[in-house]
């Protein structure tokens, strides 16, 4: 339940934790401990917490490849996340998925997806489940502006509207899909018009204002729960490169500098102080706690052990059903004198 006094502070804390987490992911990479370099930081997009906070227990979601922030917003354990990003056995997915494929059934995370748009229809399917079971749950898809040009999004929107499903489409518009600014990828930028044309309730919100996002999201989630699916677009800016190796040479430095001024964490912090909901000491403590928590997550991930080699054959199919046959077993069966005699 949203409490006018403490909730904004809680949201700030979550945003700060996301920011700190992402900074540690960068460090993990620099220390050579990440599984690969396909690490997409959500710095600048922390106002998504306005949406995650509008969801309740039992609601589910999918994310795109830049989904760390969303997951933390829904209650993720940063240590297990970081361990997954490091490809370790202790990670959320036993080191099989990594940054782009984190999931957690318990928290309703139906999966981050490395196919742009790939996870979007899954929430429509979840919505179908909730409708059929009359469970009152909502499912939310988080994706980027790039996914606005994937056809499957419109198929998903249409089905959601046609069947009045309890779902919300959340576009985190950070202005870029890799090196392509959104005006170079879309014929028309008023994306919420698209959503409306497909029968959704559409809205676009300033991504520096987590409370505004939260207000709109709360209404849309309620609408979705009542069978009117919605679309919310968070107008943000991608602070850094697309992935860890990208220095965004295709961006105008001036634009970039300006974009980074649109900082949802800094803005929220200032607003809390102005509104008298927290003083500098409170905020500094929150910041420090986040830093400590994420330092620990980083160390946990670095220390954690790699998955055993044989685990690669597990989880292809459910336990107790036919399992993949390791190549060496096959080769041995062919080549060992025994079977060829």
């Amino acid at each position: 339940m949203t409490q006018t006094n403490t909730a904004p502070l809680a949201r700030y804390r979550t945003m700060r934790r996301i920011r700190s987490f992402e900074e540690r992911v960068g460090e993990l990479f620099l220390r050579g401990a990440s599984a690969g370099s396909m690490l997409h930081l959500s710095i600048g997009e922390e106002a998504v917490v306005g949406v995650t906070a509008a969801m309740t227990e039992g609601d589910s979601f999918t994310t795109h490849h830049r989904g760390h922030g969303v997951f933390i917003g829904r209650g993720a354990d940063p240590a297990r996340m970081m361990a997954e990003i490091a490809g370790k056995e202790a990670g959320y997915c036993r080191g099989k998925g990594g940054s782009m494929h984190i999931a957690d059934r318990a928290l309703g995370h139906l999966g981050a997806n490395a196919i742009v748009g790939g996870g979007i229809p899954h929430i429509v399917g979840a919505g179908l489940t909730y409708r059929n079971l009359r469970s009152g749950q909502v499912s939310v898809a988080f994706f980027g502006d790039g996914a606005m040009q994937q056809g499957i999004l419109y198929e998903s929107m249409n089905m959601a509207a046609l069947w009045h499903l309890p779902v919300l489409f959340c576009c985190i518009n950070n202005q870029y899909g890799m090196g392509t600014r959104v005006d170079r990828s879309a014929g028309k930028l008023a994306f919420s018009e698209r959503a409306e044309a497909f029968g959704l309730t559409g809205a676009r919100v300033d991504g520096t204002n987590v409370e505004a996002v939260h207000q709109v999201a709360t209404a849309l989630v309620a609408g979705a729960r009542a069978g009117q699916p919605g679309y919310i677009e968070i107008d943000a800016y991608r602070f850094y490169g697309h992935a860890r190796m990208d220095k965004s040479p295709y961006r105008d430095p001036e634009e970039e500098a300006e974009g980074r001024l649109r900082d949802p964490v800094v803005t929220a912090r200032a607003r809390l102080a102005v509104a008298g909901l927290a003083d500098e000491a409170d905020l500094a403590r929150i910041d420090a706690e986040a830093a400590t928590e994420m330092d620990a997550a980083l160390e946990y991930a670095v220390e954690a052990v790699a998955p055993p080699l044989a685990s690669m054959f597990e989880d292809v199919y459910a336990p107790g059903t036919a399992q993949p046959r390791p190549q060496r077993d096959r080769l041995a069966a062919i080549l060992s004198e025994g079977s060829r005699a």
Partner: protein
Amino acid sequence: MSAFETTYREAIRQALLDAMQADPDIILIGEEVGLYGGAYGVTKGLIELYGAERVIDAPISEPGIVGVAVGAAMTGLRPVAELMYVDFVGLVMDQLANQAAKSRYMFGGQIGVPMVLRTQGGTGRSAAAQHSQSLEAWMLHVPGLRLVMPATVNDAYHLLREALRQPDPVVVIEHKGLYTMKGVLDVDTPDGEWGQPVIRRAGTDVTILSYSRMLHESLAAAEVLAGQGVQADVIDLRCLNPLDDTMIFESVRRTGRAMVVTEAALTGSVASEIAARIGEACFDWLEEPVLRIGGEDIPIPVSPALERGAIPSAALIAEAGLWLVKREAPAWAP
């Protein structure tokens, strides 16, 4: 009373009926599965029985439909998504191979996708290049997916029922040329084990391996061969992914000769996989090369005569078999 004669189409319908009766989480979703009753009439009457929440007529949005099924499966339903023609699978391979098949793995075993994708393929209706294909090889090559292709009325029922009990995604490919075929359905007794081939005819001279409609061409060829004193062991592969090759190897080691028959374009087909496995595992037992007989490596033409010519016939299988076993060359040999 539990065994009766019916059609392949009705057997599938019966399987859906019985499964939906037993498990309220099963839903059907696909184009024309409801009011229309399915493009080939398989789902006729189900919407009247189970309502529009469980029998869902979907828009023409194949990628979305399969994606919706994935999400529904992740959250507790057991969807049967229908793809009207396997030819449209090119639209959904991402949702099938990257999403449905890999979720359990990528997510470290947390999230399974217990869904079934029903579809149908094959030639026989002059439906041309985009409505006549046999594309099972694409799905054979996807770890995490299961793939079954029923050839008999009884299997049409039981493989689907079993698919609907699996914790992982199963693709069921029916054959448009078999829907009106009659046979005995025994709802209590499957033709064989889930995941295993079945020997449809016992023989000692050559093993003929096939599946789906080509099983029947193979059985017809076996009759012709029997007339020439050649007894063929005819194996119905049924469950293609994962492929259990134990019974295949046993048969070939007995007969020393093998032919693998598929309706699909031969190159890169299921027949190639089977032949390669036999070549590895039965090398010392083989008297002759493992012969593949398949569709020509061409798109399917609309003209009926050309269409028939593009895929294997019982006659061709028998000719090749005689040549293989008795060194009797057919008329068309050079």
